[in-house]
């Protein structure tokens, strides 16, 4: 029983990071119908940025994170700007274009920061909490809290602000949105910037949890994307639920199948998606002939 709960907690805290990654995927997807395969690599850049400001420039962790979010937001703008000609045209090509961006980002990080990566000490040095023999790291609680806050803020932005409402409209029907005077290009750019900033947030938080290296984007990206799809692609609560689900699935697979955990995780994921392509919260899209 103790193993069960400890595994669950480990899965949930890693899942919170996947959830943040998934959130960025979903936000970009719902607004512009684009799957950004380079998202994981943007997370990696964010992690490097944040750790550089935190470790080298000795800035407070929160400030380092905010600066990292701003910088990666800029990368988001660049990616969006370059791929704009393909928006709403060729979905698959755009997807492949983002894969190309991911490859470039990973190589750039290797050039700038080296291939071996770095360890980031935890900014929350407090000892783990002990609940009936189950240890909960304080830093995990911080990650969970920030993930929850980010989701809440994002929901508020989308539902309560004019700009957010405009993005919602673009998500539903970009042609109609154009017709009522919404600047679709700007809306898409904001989605991309927000997505990239979320990626940086995830990267910054994951640094002290794991280890920052140029290849970290691959796994985080794939698992985060899987989480977004599992939750229902394009759904904000779905991204959170899906991300955490993948984290927990991963954790239990590692516990039960040890070396074969990856095999099991992806097989289970495949089966779930084939059974229910729309995920947990997904809307069934009506295909009009």
């Amino acid at each position: 029983m103790q193993i069960f709960f400890q595994t669950l907690i480990g899965g949930v805290s890693l899942g919170a990071v996947y959830a943040l990654v998934a959130l960025g995927f979903s936000l970009v997807y719902r607004t512009m119908g684009l799957v950004n395969f380079s998202h994981g690599n943007v997370v990696m850049i964010g992690a490097y940025m944040a750790s550089t400001f935190y470790l080298t420039a000795k800035l407070p962790f929160a400030l380092a994170t905010v600066i990292a979010m701003a910088v990666t937001g800029l990368i988001g703008v660049i990616i969006e700007r370059v791929l704009r000609p393909l928006e709403n045209k060729d979905f698959d090509l755009m997807l492949i274009g983002t894969i190309g961006f991911g490859i470039v980002l990973e190589a750039l990080a290797t050039l700038v920061w080296g291939a071996t990566g770095r360890a980031v000490p935890s900014p929350v040095p407090a000892a783990p909490l002990d609940l009936f023999g189950i240890k909960v790291r304080t830093y995990d609680l911080v990650v969970l809290a920030i993930a929850a806050a980010a989701t809440a803020l994002l929901m508020l932005f989308l539902q309560r602000t004019k700009r957010g409402a405009a993005m919602q409209a673009v998500a539903m029907d970009h042609e109609a949105a154009t017709a009522v005077g919404i600047h679709v290009g700007r809306s898409n750019a904001i989605a991309f910037v927000l997505g990239a900033a979320l990626a940086a947030l995830a990267g910054s938080l994951v640094g002290p949890l794991l280890y920052v290296s140029p290849t970290m984007g691959g796994t985080l990206g794939i698992k985060g994307f899987a989480g977004a799809i599992l939750g229902g692609f394009g759904s904000i609560p779905g991204a959170i639920a899906g991300g955490i689900a993948i984290g927990v699935l991963d954790s239990f697979a590692a516990g039960h199948f040890q070396g074969y955990s990856e095999l099991v995780t992806f097989l289970v994921f495949t089966i779930l998606i084939v059974i229910r392509p729309t995920g947990i919260f997904g809307e069934r899209t009506v295909n009009r002939a």
């Binding site: 080296g114 291939a115 071996t116 360890a119 783990p128 949890l209 984290g247």
Partner: protein, 388 residues
């Protein structure tokens, strides 16, 4: 779109037929048969290749190896080379990928290199070995997997002990010196982790001990809660780590967060600063490390090496550089004693070379291993010191 696809298809078929006809004509004279495939010269510089990961996650190992080997070669070149010939050390990047390694093995064979230093990755070395053997190129490798020995290639030599030695020494210290029997294991499924797992399990079995927990993780796993909680329940005194630097660091960090206070034990990766920094200095305190190269201050030889290393690269020497330095010295000595022989003669000369090196005394046996001893150190205050 005036092209008609069918005619294209027809013509492709035609091409096949034509090719088949040519085969019949040219069948008897094979290309490349008359070429000198070795290209080994007896004048000009002596060409030695160093193949290691210079990019990718394992590139730090590759960088250390290169520095160590280069130091040895420069020493010899400054002293006038071998038989009046300078030594040319060329570096190739295997990216840590065995397939790239096989390509490079063919490349150095076709470009006339007479010997090879590297790689630090057992899987890459194993992949390259058959090609090097076929082309009779002696290879001094830096991996430690017993799998390399199992190949029985007369052209493959190790510049350090195998996992068997590392783990035998470690098990002996833990079980016999310290009297600890309550031991858990956590290893990964990569080539290094698998080798460590098998060697340490064997060493324990020889002492009739079964580990209380035997957890296997993947090489890119991030969360070890399940494995570590299982281990925690068994409450072991010592946890054996069989994983590379970063992953070992993560495991130790998470273990401490989960309230595991047991001592960790491992081999080469656990002696590195990367491991220490990933886990944190306090977390790794007391970790037992089985290593053939305890520190730069061990004796006069290591001190001289460390000083030269510092002078050349402005950084502190460590195990992998020292191993590569020893390996390169052995090769260069063999070249000298054999008067720059190549192929089998050079391999035999290496086998006959005895060296009192940084890691200890080398004397190769038939399996290509020249040194069979490691010592145990503990990490104290972030530094590796000899264990009491």
């Amino acid at each position: 779109m005036s092209r008609t696809s069918l005619s294209r298809t027809l013509w492709s078929r035609f091409a096949v037929t034509a090719a088949a006809a040519l085969l019949a004509v040219a069948g008897c004279s094979a290309p490349g048969a008359d070429k000198d495939s070795t290209g080994k010269n007896s004048s000009g510089p002596i060409k030695i290749a160093i193949i290691d990961a210079q990019s990718g996650q394992l590139s730090s190992l590759g960088a250390w190896e290169l520095k160590g080997a280069k130091l040895a070669v420069e020493e010899w070149n400054k002293a006038g080379g071998i038989s009046g010939r300078q030594i040319q050390l060329d570096v190739f990047d295997d990216q840590g990928d065995p397939t790239v390694g096989t390509n490079l093995a063919r490349k150095i064979a076709s470009e006339g290199y007479i010997a090879m230093i590297g790689t630090a990755e057992s899987a890459v070395t194993i992949a390259m070995a058959p090609i090097l053997q076929q082309n009779q190129i002696p290879n001094i490798a830096s991996g430690q997997s017993p799998g390399m020995v199992a190949l029985k290639s007369p052209f493959l030599f190790l510049n350090g002990p195998t996992s068997t030695t590392y783990d035998e020494t470690l098990a002996k210290y833990i079980v016999e010196t310290k009297g600890v029997k309550n031991i858990a294991m956590i290893t990964n499924n990569g080539s290094y982790g698998k080798g460590e797992h098998d060697a340490f399990t064997k060493a324990l079995a020889a002492r009739s001990i079964t580990p209380v927990a035997d957890q296997v993780v993947t090489t890119d796993q991030k969360d070890f809660s399940a494995a570590l909680t299982t281990i925690r329940q068994k409450n072991p005194q010592i946890i054996f780590l069989g994983a590379e630097e970063v992953e070992s660091g993560l495991i130790v960090k998470q273990a401490r967060d989960l309230g595991i206070t047991a001592t960790f034990a491992g081999a080469a990766p656990q002696g590195t600063p990367v491991f220490r920094d990933t886990a944190g200095v306090t977390a790794v305190e007391g970790t037992l490390v089985s290593t053939p190269y305890m520190s730069n201050d061990l004796n006069d030889k290591t001190k001289a090496f460390a000083a030269a290393y510092k002078a050349a690269y402005n950084e502190d020497a460590e195990l992998h550089g020292a191993k590569a330095y020893d390996g390169a010295q052995i090769l260069l000595n063999a070249l000298k004693s054999s008067n720059v022989a190549t192929g089998k003669a050079l391999a035999d000369a290496i086998r006959a070379t005895k060296r009192d090196g940084l890691l200890g005394s080398f004397a190769y046996d038939g399996t290509g291993v020249g040194i069979f001893a490691t010592t145990i150190g503990t990490i104290t205050g972030g530094k590796l010191v000899p264990a009491s």
